[in-house]
């Protein structure tokens, strides 16, 4: 099937830089499949990212692609979308990128309910810099900056998104990549700020330190612990997958367009 989606890639840039077994590649393919499913005009698609392993994704994709500064992807994307709302803007962020340094842009994009499709690749770690804990590293897990186990609690990032005003939230994993493709399609179709949290494996910076022997072990963990709503009661390490919330609210660029219209009338 890669041959089916190869047209969306800058194949000359491949193979990519991600480590053996890293989930980002798998997720990349799933995202591209969503865009293919949506039959979006390649020339109108913009992919924006921050900095991190995940954020290297746009470089491999043949769209209008923008690899920005750490944590700021949503602010750049806001400029793009507000300036030219007819573009289809997807924003790729790592968990650190989105929720640590980028947390403020995240809640404000949600508050404005601006029509961006935000995909957080949550590998529970700062991959690019070699394995420091992120605000989404589970409690007690190891990272180079939590050598005694993470003292902090992770964000429930979809809860935060919802409280801040986002109108679509969903979760999948690299393993559940067909679900992921579907959720991204739905997220795109939501006319507002949509967040898809995607659990990924980082075998090198996270897995090694947290007793996962192989990348496959990490995918297995995703398979076991990613639970669809109602399937069973959630255990300690379990998490919901699928659509987590939907809401309705005015969308920023539409409101702005209405303002322009209204002023014309005056």
């Amino acid at each position: 099937m890669f041959s089916d989606i190869a047209q969306y890639f800058r194949t000359e840039a491949l193979p990519h830089i991600w480590c053996p077994g890293c989930g980002i590649g798998t997720i990349t393919a799933a995202i591209v499949r969503s865009i293919k499913t949506l039959q979006l005009d390649q020339n109108k698609v913009v992919i924006v990212s921050g900095i991190g392993c995940s954020s290297r994704m746009p470089g491999y994709l043949d769209f209008n692609t923008l690899h920005t500064t750490h944590g700021r992807a949503l602010a750049f994307a806001t400029g793009i979308k507000a300036s030219r709302p007819e573009l289809d803007v997807f924003v790729i962020m790592g968990d650190g990128d989105a929720s640590a340094i980028g947390g403020n842009h995240f809640i404000h994009a949600a508050r404005r309910n601006i029509d961006l499709t935000a995909i957080i690749i949550n590998n529970s770690i700062y991959g690019m810099t070699g394995g420091q804990s992120s605000p989404m590293t589970p409690h007690d897990k190891r990272a180079t900056t939590s050598p005694y186990g993470n003292l902090e609690r992770p964000f429930q990032i979809l809860e935060v998104a919802k409280a801040a005003g986002a109108t679509y939230g969903a979760r999948a994993t690299a393993f559940h990549n067909q679900l992921l493709t579907k959720l991204i399609v739905n997220a795109y179709n939501n006319p507002g700020f949509s967040v898809v949290e995607t659990i990924s494996q980082c075998p090198v910076a996270y897995g090694r330190r947290n007793k996962f022997k192989t990348p496959a072990d990490m995918l297995l963990w995703q398979k076991e612990h990613g639970i669809s709503a109602g399937r069973k009661e959630l255990g300690a390490e379990d998490f919901l997958i699928g659509e987590i919330f939907k809401a309705e609210a005015p969308e920023y660029t539409q409101e702005y367009a209405k303002l322009r219209q209204r002023l014309k009338g005056e």
């Binding site: 209008n64 923008l66 700021r72 806001t78 793009i80 300036s83 573009l87």
Partner: protein, 374 residues
């Protein structure tokens, strides 16, 4: 009809931006620049443009870069603390060569300082504030009329050279109201668009002009923009040779255009023994002092860099045999560059840092000290 009007410096800056074709403003309020945002908030939706108040200055800088990539002329305005916060993304715009204009209406610092008082204390920050090597253009108006004209220039430079341009104003001119006469029309330069098909487009082409053509996002030229060191194709590279080529071009892209970029004003220099070099609001005091000194028979001249960066070095160097006095509303910033150009021993300083505009008398006294009493 071009009519005389009373206008505030910040307002003239906003009007200049509108005349230059600004279509996007993102900002975060801060004294003494806020009027620019307020005018934009009112006027942009009326002309099909977009104003957005972002969550902070970092996001504001990011948003104007994003908007510029879609083809919009984009503006942001701030003051000291916000200028510090914008530095990281300013560097991104420089590295990726995305046109935009950033106004800094300087106030007295460091830190929160005296938020409503003027200073010229971000002059060196404008040159060196973001990490890493980088070129910069910074323009410095002394009058309300110039706030207007230089903002138009700033957009033109930004677009022509794919280069963020800093309007380095100060509270004196930013809040001053003055009679201006706006031209009926202004010369407008747009960015160079690709003349080739998307297949042949090389987004960061190392061409002779040193300025690659720039396609808008959404117009069919799909390409990659990254703050990582990149090759001509826009994709990141770690290869030293490619990196060097990119950085060499970036650092020298303005060189062929320096004659056009570097602007300055020269008054009474021919026979001047002492040249007062001043810029921005305080240049007005300096000029008054120069005239007063002349009327006392002192051979004093006046040199005003309008382009602060790249500093008009060649222009000033012609007078390297004279003596210089550099009044600044800081503890000595641009004076270092002047010392470098003309030699340290020839240069005297005058600094005022209490948040009040330097007076002509202060400069005149200093001129007298330097020329008579020494």
């Amino acid at each position: 009809m071009s009519k005389a009007r009373l206008m505030q410096g910040n307002e003239a800056c906003a009007e200049g931006a509108l005349a230059a074709g600004v279509k996007f403003y993102a900002g975060y309020p801060i004294t003494p620049s806020t009027e620019i945002a307020e005018i934009m908030a009112e006027k942009l939706p009326l002309i099909g443009g977009t104003f957005i108040q972002m969550e902070d200055e970092i996001g504001s800088m990011a948003a104007i870069i994003g908007a510029s990539l879609t083809g919009a002329k984009a503006l942001t305005a701030t003051s000291g603390p916000g200028f510090s916060l914008k530095q990281e993304n300013l560097g991104f715009a420089i590295a990726t060569e995305v046109p935009c204009v950033l106004v800094n209406v300087q106030r007295a610092g460091p830190s929160t300082g005296l938020p409503t008082s003027p200073a010229q204390a971000d002059v060196m920050q404008a040159r060196w504030g973001t990490h890493g090597d980088h070129p910069i253009i910074a323009l410095c108006p002394s009058s309300v009329q110039e706030c207007y004209e230089l903002t138009v220039k700033a957009f033109n430079f930004a677009e022509e050279f794919r280069q963020p341009v800093i309007m380095l104003m100060d509270e004196v001119v930013g809040h001053l109201r003055e009679k201006v006469v706006l031209p009926e029309s202004v010369e407008i330069v747009g960015r160079k668009k690709p003349s080739v098909s998307p297949d042949e487009y090389i987004p960061y082409e190392n061409n002779e002009s040193r300025i690659p053509a720039m396609a808008n996002f959404g117009d069919g030229y799909r390409y990659h923009v990254t703050g990582l060191t990149h090759g001509e194709n826009g994709l990141p590279t770690g290869k030293p040779a490619v990196a060097e080529k990119y950085l060499e071009r970036l650092m020298r892209k303005l060189d062929p255009y320096l004659d056009r970029i570097q602007r300055y004003e020269e008054i009474l220099l021919e026979d001047a023994e002492l040249i007062v070099v001043a810029y921005g609001g305080p240049a007005r005091s300096a000029l008054e002092a120069v005239h007063a000194a002349r009327s006392e028979g002192l051979n004093v001249g006046f040199f005003r860099p309008i382009t602060i960066w790249p500093f008009p070095q060649d222009a000033l160097e012609r007078y390297a045999d004279r003596r210089f006095l550099v009044p600044e509303m800081n503890s000595g910033q641009l004076v270092g560059e002047i010392e470098r150009v003309v030699g340290r021993r020839q240069v005297e300083r005058f600094n005022r840092i209490d948040g009040e505009l330097i007076t002509p008398d202060q400069i005149l006294t200093r001129i007298q000290e330097v020329m008579i009493h020494v």
